[in-house]
Every structure is written in structure tokens, then in C-alpha cells.
Amino acid sequence: MKDVGTSLQRTEPIPEPSGPDREAAVAELFEAHHLPLVRLAVLLGADDAEDVVAEAFYQLYRRWPRLRSPEAAATYLRSVVVNLTRMRIRHLQVVRKHAARTGDELAHAASGEERAVLRDDQKALVDAVRALPARQREALVLRFWLDLRESEIADAMGITAGSVKVHVSRGMAALSRMLEERR
């Protein structure tokens, strides 16, 4: 599988744990980051958030010796989850297009009990976010849920900070427009 993260481009090899040490390090990261990453995948619209996150941890496990530093692991995981979710949604859109079911809404993990806890206005907002283009949705989730800085969002999405600014501003404008129309 191709590299779907953006934190692996290091030039100097650094001593990294391998074997049982790698297992322990990845287990520790799993404990700390699994739930937030599943939530991130759900917010981005993944229909199989657990699988997406498991795949992200597998990519981390496989490429552990090439990691820039242990601190870069969280950034790498976030980046992989964002990219895998985008690829998964695109794949589903293509599948549904070919199945001539274009009228169907994308299924996602939040379509069930998670949405039940939302108020009506929050449901409308979440639906509006889901209707945005993928890049704008990612920028908004990373900005307003994870409270990341533009440079961190750019790192997670693999784009420039300027593009992040553009996606956030266009996403917010589109959201406001959609919410105005629903009133």
C-alpha cells in the first residue's frame, strides 16, 4: 500500500525500538490515541472508522523504523486517518455511482446511535458539514474539533498552510449559506 501519511520523510536514521520494543511503543500509542482517532474518522464521515484506524496503526507498525521521531507518531496517525477516510469515501462514491444508487446518502458510522444524542440544530450542522467537499470538511474538523494550528492541519492533510486557510474560509462560507437556506 502506498504511503498515506506525511511524517515519514526523515533523512538521518535514528535509533528506534524494534521487535518487542516496537510492539510496546505501538501498544502505548494505541492506548492513548485509538479513541480520538476513531472519533476523528467518524467526524470525517468514515463508515468503518474502527477499520480505518486499525489500518493506520498497521501502517505505523510497518513503517516504525522509518519514523522521524517517536513524537511524530501521533501526527503520522492523524495524517493516515485523514487520507484513508478520504480514499474510503471516494471509493464508496464510485461504487454507488456504478450501482446506480446515486440518490443514496453516504453511510457512515455516525448514522446510528451517535446521531441520536444530537439536537436538531446540531444534526443540521453535521449534515451540512457532510455535504461539503472532502478537503473543506477535513479542514473544518481539524480546525474546530481538534483545535489544530494551520501548520498542523497542513501537515495532516499534506497541503500548504495557505490552502488550509482557503479550505477553512470556503467551508465556513458554504456552511453559513446552507444554514441560511434551511431557515
Binding site: 474502527e50 486499525a54 498497521y58 507498525y61 446511535e113 458539514v129 474546530f144 474539533w145
Partner: protein
Amino acid sequence: MTMPGTDERLREAFGALAAGVQADPDAYRRASAGWRRRHRRRRLVLAIVAAVVFTAADAVGLWALSQADPNTHVIFSDPSYRPVAPEQVDRIGQP
């Protein structure tokens, strides 16, 4: 031109949606078993591919050698070369 308070509403909606997501408590055991299995399979496939390439290279080399004419000498291929009998060797200058 964004509606005032949209970012706050967005934070609230994201927070409420995220709070409703719970992870499977058995997730680590399942995920780690999966990635170990995939890692082992990947290494096995790599080893098989390396063995197949090595064997194929060996087979091609042996086939090429077996096709060669045993009377054709690659090193001493000069047609004007003839082995010299010991009695025809020029002895001038030798003690």
C-alpha cells in the same frame, strides 16, 4: 461572510457527535493480531519472491551453460593459435 457564532456551534456539534462514539474495548487485541498476521504474511511473500527470483536466475544460467558447445573455447579463440611441440621451442638464450 460567515454567520456569527458558527464556529462555536460547529465546535459544540463536533463535540456532541464525538462524545457519542465509543471504541470497542477489544480493539487492540483484534487490531494487533491483524497487523501481526499481515506482517508475517508480507515477510513470507517477500521470502518466496526472493527464492523464486534466485532459482530462476540459477536455472537460466545453467541452461545457458548447457547450451554452449564444449569444443568452443572462449578464452583461446584465436584461429591462428596452434599449440607448439616442446622440440620446436626456441632454445637460443637459454642456459
